[in-house]
């Protein structure tokens, strides 16, 4: 890539922007503060990777990377669903525990994390 054309520049810039998006999502992921925040961040990252695959396909000139994107678009949300369900179940369990144990004691679990 010695002489950059407009599409190349657009590609690079877009790539940079996608990375920025992923990076910001990562920050949210690490900071939380609640469980759903982290799940949202991860979900967002997955979707961004789809975008990255598109850019990679353009960059390499090979459509094979679209297959990666296709798989990710279909399957990626499974992790989100699982994590969300995890968060939700935690509530049910906590509530059940709260009923079982006396009103004053509380579980050590902080489901927000």
């Amino acid at each position: 890539m010695t002489s950059l054309t407009a599409p190349d520049i657009a590609l690079m810039v877009s790539l940079g922007l996608v990375f920025c998006g992923i990076g910001l999502a990562f920050l949210r992921l690490s900071l939380g503060p609640t469980m759903p925040d982290r799940v949202v961040a991860l979900d967002k990252m997955t979707v961004s990777i789809v975008a990255f695959c598109g850019l990679a396909a353009i960059w390499s000139g090979d459509a094979a990377f679209l297959d990666v994107a296709l798989v990710l678009a279909l399957v990626g949300f499974l992790a989100t669903v699982a994590l969300a369900r995890f968060a939700e179940r935690a509530v049910i369990r906590r509530n059940r525990a709260a009923i079982n144990t006396s009103a004053t004691t509380n579980e050590g679990e902080t489901d927000h994390e």
């Binding site: 094979a64 297959d67 990666v68 296709l70 798989v71 279909l74 399957v75 499974l78 669903v81 699982a82 369900r85 939700e88 179940r89 049910i92």
Partner: protein, 139 residues
Amino acid sequence: MNSIILQVGTRYLAGILILFSLYMLLRGHNEPGGGFIGGLIGSTGFILYALACGTAQARAALHIMPQNIAVAGLGIALLAGIAAALFGDALFTGQWLFLNATEDSKGLPLSTVLIFDIGVYLVVFGAILSIVFAMEEEI
């Protein structure tokens, strides 16, 4: 607990996922894909099903115990390898049959290699489901 949105979404997505997995399986020899990827995607279809509607329903839909699918897959893959003996070749030597072959195209390829990949698919599919289902049922 059960989400209507997820259940309804699953109805479409699970079918698409399984379809997609078969597609990835069949084209794997020439494009990205293959038995592993196919099996992994196929299993996600039923995992989604299990997450949305519970494992009992997912197991009912599957009809066969996932472990049996996996072991049968292993057997199919093995038979695909042993089949070479019928042709006097070494274990896992691919045997090919091209239907409707012309000089341009090789036609429709049928091969022990594809059978092997189907075995791989079934193994991955069955194995992942048996773990996930059993694990789900623990909760």
